[in-house]
C-alpha cells in the first residue's frame, strides 16, 4: 500500500492507505483526529470542515493523494493550544452546542470566515455558515457566537 506524509496540526504523520482513500478516514480512523466528523461524505453537511493552508475544506471529498506534505492541515484539535481560540471562547459564552456533533465543523467554518472577513455582517455570517448543517437547531446561538467572536478578536491592523 502506498505511503503518504501529511502535516497535521504542525506535526508530520505517515500513513499507508490505498490510493483514493478520503482524507476524512485518514484523519479520523488512521491518525485519530476524531474531532473532525463524518456526516454525509458528499460535501453537503460540513461536519468534516478542516483548514488546509488556512482555507476551509471538506475532508470527506478530498483524496489523500491530493494533499501534499507541504500543505498544513489544521483540525479542531489544532485550532488552538487549549481550546481558547476566540471562536471557541465565543462558542462557550453563547452555549452554542447541543449534541455537539456538528460543532467542530461549525467552529472551523466560523474561524475561516473571521480569518478572511473579521467584521462580517449578519447576512454574511448566515450565508457563509449555511453550508454547515446542525440537526439540533443551534443556528441561533451559532450566529450569536460568531458575532461575539468577531467583536472579541484582536482587531487586525489593516
Amino acid at each position: 500500500m502506498p505511503a503518504y506524509t501529511l502535516t497535521v496540526n504542525g506535526k508530520v504523520h505517515r500513513v499507508e492507505v490505498a490510493e483514493g482513500t478520503s482524507l476524512l478516514w485518514v484523519l479520523r480512523e488512521h491518525l485519530g483526529f476524531t474531532g473532525t466528523k463524518y456526516g454525509c461524505g458528499i460535501a453537503l453537511c460540513g461536519a468534516c470542515v478542516i483548514h488546509i493552508d488556512s482555507q476551509p475544506v471538506r475532508a470527506c471529498v478530498l483524496n489523500i493523494e491530493a494533499v501534499s506534505q507541504n500543505q498544513s492541515i489544521t483540525t479542531i484539535e489544532g485550532l488552538s493550544e487549549s481550546g481558547d481560540h476566540p471562536v471557541q471562547r465565543a462558542w462557550i459564552e453563547a452555549q452554542a452546542p447541543q449534541c455537539g456533533y456538528c460543532q467542530s465543523g461549525q467552529i472551523m467554518q466560523a474561524a475561516a470566515l473571521l480569518e478572511s472577513n473579521p467584521n462580517p455582517s449578519r447576512q454574511e455570517i448566515k450565508s457563509y455558515m449555511s453550508s454547515v448543517l446542525c440537526r439540533c437547531g443551534t443556528y441561533m446561538r451559532i450566529l450569536k457566537a460568531v458575532e461575539l467572536a468577531a467583536e472579541q478578536q484582536p482587531q487586525k491592523e489593516s
Binding site: A18, E29, G39, C40, W91, C99, V132, R135, Y139
Partner: protein, 724 residues
C-alpha cells in the same frame, strides 16, 4: 480482586483511599461508603447491595456525580447532577460529571409500569423522572457529611449548616470543606429517611434555576467530546452493511467470490435483510460495499407508494366503523346533529427521517470465549439496558458492559437497537477483535425508521353561539402510538370529543421521531381551530381563550405568548402571525410571524415567540436552547423534509435529496418566556417542535385565507394552494 465481604471494615477502605463513593440505596436510602480505587468492586457492591453510587468524593474536594441519562444535546449532563448538588449543597465548581454505569436496576428511573426501573432517555422524561431521585440522593449525601462532622466536632448535628461545599458550626466558629471530611466519614446508624418534605423548597434553590454553563460544552468545542463513532481500539476491524432501500427485502449476493478477494475483506456475513462486510479498514469495507451485486426479493412494502396511499387512507377514514378508540367524551354523533355549523378537513403528513448528524454506529468487542462483551455506543438506552446484546450472544446481562458515549443526536432514532444488534452479530464473527460498525448517511436514509405517514380527518361542530361543542379526530396510519399520540385535547373545554386510530400497514420501518404523533395530530387540531375561528370571524387567540377557561396553566401560556408577540399590534405589510398551543409534558403556546414569496412559494418565518410552563425549570438557559432547537427542527421538517416511497423503495439518500434547514433560513428571533412555577418539572424537549406546523399554517391562513393541510409545506405545495 473483588472482596468477598462487602461489609469489610470500612475504615480500612477509607484509610487506603483518598476518595470514597457514597452508595445510596434507592429504596430505604441506606448509604455505604466504599473506596473507589476499584471500579469493579463498586459495581459488584452496587449490584449485591442494591445500592446506588451517585457521587464520588475525594479529599481534595473534587467530586464526581453520576448522570444516569444519555446526553444527546438535551443537557442531562448538567441538569441531573445539578439537582444532586443542589440538595448536597455542593460546590458546583468542583463537580465533575460522568455517565452512570448502565445498570437499570441500580440507576434506573421509574419505568412505564409501576415498580419497574428503566434507563431510557426518551419522551422528554429525564428531568421529570429523576427530579426527586437525584434530590433525595443529594440530601442523603449531605446528611452523611453532616453526621460525620457532628461526630468529629462532638456537636449536635442540628447546629450545623452547609453551603457551597462547606460544613459550618456557627457556635464554635468551625468550618470544614467536604473534601476534608472524606477521611472522617462515618455512617449514621440507623439512617434517617429523607422524605420529600426534607428537601428544599424551590424558593431555597441555589443552583437550580440559575444561569449555569453546561458541563460538557468545553469538550464539544475543542473536539475532545467522544462519540461512539470516535472510538478506536487496538486491533479493531470495521463493519458495514448493505440493507437496500426496500424495507423487508431479502438479499442474495451474486458476486461473493469477487468481494472475498477484495483488499482487506475479512468476512462476508449474510443477514435476513442485509449483506455485511467485515474488513481491516473502513475504506476497504466501504469499497467492498460499493462493489456488492445483490438481488433483492420483493417485500410487504413492494406495492407501497407514499404519495398514492393517501387515497386509500381517505377511504379508510370514510368507513362508518370506527377504529381503535383513543379518547371518548360525551357523544360526538349527537352533538354533530345538534351543531349549527359543522367543519371537516383532512390533514396529511408525509414520512420524515431523523437525520441525526452522527450516523448510526457502535463498537462491540466480544470475548474470545463469546461469554462476555463490551459495547461502546451512543444510545438512548432502552427497555433492555444492555441493548439486545445478551440475547444475541446468549449470555447473562451482567456479562455485557455498555460504555455510553455522547450521542450525535437522538430524536428517537437511537432508542432503537438495530445498529447495536448488527454490530454484535458482526463482532461475534471476529471475536475477540473489536469491531466498529458504521452506517453511511445513505444507509441512514434508505434504511431509516421514519415518522409514519398519516392522515387526520377532523370533524367539528359549533353551536349557535359559535362554541366548539364537538370534535372528532380520526387518525389513519401505521405504527400505533407513533401516529396516535397527541390526539388528546385535555386543555380545551370541548364537551364532546372522539379520537380514534385506524390501522394501515405498509411494511415500512417506523420509529418515534421527536414529539412522535404530536406533530401531525397537533397540526390537525390547532389548524382546525383556526379554520373555525377564521370562518366565524373570531380572533384565534380569543377563540382559544374561551376554550381554555378551565385550564389556567395553559391559558397563562396563551396570554403570555400573545403579549410577547404583541398579538394585537400592527404587523408589517405582507406578514401575519399564527398561534398554536401544545402540551407535551410541559405546556406551551407558540406564535410565529411569517411572510410568503408568492412567486416562489417559499415561506419565511421571521419571528417565533414561546411561553412555556414546564413546572420548576432546573436549567433555564438549556430550556431556552431546547425551545430554539425544537422550533428550528420543526421548521426544517415542516418546510422541507419529506421521505417518499415508490414501489416500496425509499427515494432519498443524502442531504441533497433530503434537505435540512440551513442558517440562511432561521428566524430573526426565537424568544422564550418561562413561566414561574413550583410544580414538578415536566419535559421540554418535544413541546416546541409540534407548534411549528400549526403556527405557520395558521399565519398562512390569516395572510392568504387559504389553509395548508399537507406537511411539508414545500414551495410547490404552497404555490398549488395559492393558485387554487
Amino acid at each position: 480482586m473483588e472482596p468477598s465481604n462487602p461489609n469489610i471494615d470500612r475504615r480500612q477502605f477509607l484509610k487506603t483511599s483518598s476518595s470514597v463513593a457514597l452508595f445510596i440505596g434507592a429504596s430505604g436510602l441506606l448509604p455505604q461508603l466504599v473506596s473507589c480505587s476499584d471500579q469493579k468492586q463498586m459495581a459488584t457492591l452496587a449490584r449485591t447491595e442494591s445500592l446506588t453510587a451517585w457521587v464520588r468524593l475525594s479529599e481534595d474536594g473534587e467530586m464526581t456525580v453520576y448522570n444516569p441519562a444519555a446526553e444527546m444535546g438535551q443537557g442531562s449532563m448538567t441538569s441531573l447532577p445539578l439537582l444532586f448538588a443542589e440538595e448536597m449543597d455542593a460546590d458546583w465548581s468542583r463537580v465533575r460529571v460522568e455517565f452512570a454505569p448502565q445498570e437499570a436496576e441500580i440507576y434506573g428511573g421509574e419505568g412505564w409500569r409501576p415498580g419497574t426501573k428503566l434507563m431510557f432517555t426518551v419522551g422528554s422524561r429525564t428531568t421529570n423522572s429523576y427530579y426527586t431521585v437525584m434530590r433525595k440522593a443529594g440530601a442523603q449525601a449531605r446528611h452523611v457529611l453532616l453526621y460525620s462532622a457532628a461526630k468529629h466536632w462532638d456537636v449536635p448535628l442540628n447546629e450545623l449548616t452547609t453551603a457551597n461545599g462547606v460544613v459550618t458550626h456557627a457556635g464554635s466558629k468551625r468550618q470544614m470543606d467536604y473534601g476534608s471530611l472524606v477521611p472522617l466519614l462515618e455512617l449514621p446508624d440507623p439512617l434517617a429517611e429523607i422524605e420529600e418534605g426534607d428537601l428544599k423548597h424551590p424558593k431555597e434553590f441555589q443552583l437550580v434555576g440559575k444561569v449555569i454553563p453546561r458541563t460538557e460544552i468545553p469538550a464539544k468545542v475543542d473536539g475532545s467530546a467522544q462519540f461512539a463513532i470516535d472510538i478506536r481500539l487496538p486491533d479493531m476491524v470495521y463493519g458495514v452493511m448493505e440493507r437496500g432501500n426496500l424495507h423487508g427485502a431479502t438479499p442474495t449476493l451474486t458476486n461473493e467470490s469477487e468481494i472475498r478477494t477484495m483488499d482487506g475483506v475479512l468476512k462476508i456475513v449474510t443477514l435476513p435483510y442485509a449483506i455485511g462486510i467485515i474488513a481491516s479498514s473502513l475504506e476497504q469495507a466501504l469499497e467492498a460495499k460499493k462493489h456488492l451485486k445483490i438481488d433483492w426479493s420483493t417485500s410487504a412494502a413492494s406495492s407501497h407508494n407514499s404519495q398514492e396511499v393517501y387515497e386509500v387512507y381517505e377511504k379508510m377514514a370514510s368507513k362508518t366503523k370506527p377504529g381503535k378508540i383513543l379518547i371518548q367524551k360525551g357523544d360526538v354523533a349527537a352533538a354533530m346533529k345538534k351543531a349549527s355549523k359543522t367543519y371537516t378537513a383532512d390533514f396529511r403528513n408525509d414520512y420524515v427521517c431523523h437525520a441525526q448528524m452522527e450516523p448510526l454506529n457502535a463498537v462491540v468487542q466480544v470475548a474470545a470465549d463469546l461469554q462476555s462483551a463490551d459495547v461502546w455506543v451512543g444510545s438512548q438506552q432502552g427497555p433492555d439496558t444492555k441493548l439486545g446484546v445478551p440475547t444475541i450472544l446468549g449470555i447473562p446481562p451482567e456479562k455485557v458492559n455498555v460504555h455510553l458515549q455522547y450521542l450525535g443526536g437522538g430524536f428517537g432514532r437511537r432508542s432503537m437497537n438495530d445498529f447495536v444488534e448488527e454490530c454484535t452479530l458482526l463482532a461475534r464473527e471476529v471475536a475477540p477483535r473489536p469491531l466498529k460498525l458504521m452506517w453511511t448517511r445513505e444507509d441512514d436514509f434508505t434504511y431509516g425508521a421514519f415518522r409514519p405517514l398519516s392522515l387526520q380527518r377532523i370533524e367539528a361542530g359549533t353551536d349557535s353561539a359559535g362554541r366548539l361543542i364537538s370534535f372528532s379526530h380520526c387518525v389513519v396510519g401505521d405504527g400505533g402510538n407513533l401516529v396516535a399520540s397527541g390526539a388528546a385535547n385535555d386543555h380545551y373545554d370541548i364537551p364532546n370529543q372522539l379520537a380514534e386510530w385506524r390501522e394501515a400497514s405498509n411494511g415500512i420501518r417506523l420509529k418515534h421521531w421527536r414529539a412522535v404523533g404530536h406533530g401531525p395530530n397537533k397540526f390537525a387540531i390547532e389548524c382546525t381551530i383556526d379554520e373555525i375561528a377564521h370562518d366565524q370571524g373570531i380572533d384565534p387567540v380569543a377563540f382559544r381563550r374561551k376554550l381554555m377557561s378551565d385550564s389556567p396553566r395553559a391559558l397563562a401560556t396563551l396570554e403570555k405568548a400573545a403579549e410577547l408577540s404583541d398579538w394585537n399590534g400592527v404587523t408589517l405589510p405582507g406578514r401575519a402571525k399564527g398561534v398554536a398551543f401544545v402540551e407535551h409534558g410541559s405546556l406551551g403556546t407558540g406564535i410565529c410571524e411569517i411572510s410568503i414569496d408568492r412567486d416562489t412559494g417559499v415561506i419565511r418565518v421571521h419571528n417565533f415567540w414561546i411561553a412555556l410552563d414546564a413546572g420548576v425549570v432546573v436549567h433555564p438557559d438549556n430550556v431556552r436552547a431546547q425551545m430554539e432547537g425544537g422550533i428550528l427542527m420543526g421548521m426544517s421538517s415542516v418546510l422541507k423534509e419529506q421521505i417518499t416511497i415508490e414501489k416500496g423503495r425509499v427515494q432519498q439518500k443524502n442531504f441533497n435529496t433530503y434537505e435540512l434547514l440551513r442558517m440562511q433560513e432561521i428566524p430573526d428571533t426565537i424568544e422564550t418566556y418561562l413561566i414561574d412555577s413550583e410544580m414538578h418539572p415536566e419535559g421540554v424537549g418535544e413541546t416546541a417542535t409540534p407548534m411549528v406546523a400549526c403556527a405557520i399554517a395558521n399565519a398562512f391562513l390569516k395572510l392568504t385565507g387559504k389553509p395548508l393541510r399537507h406537511m411539508p409545506f414545500t414551495p410547490d405545495r404552497v404555490l398549488e394552494v395559492l393558485n387554487s
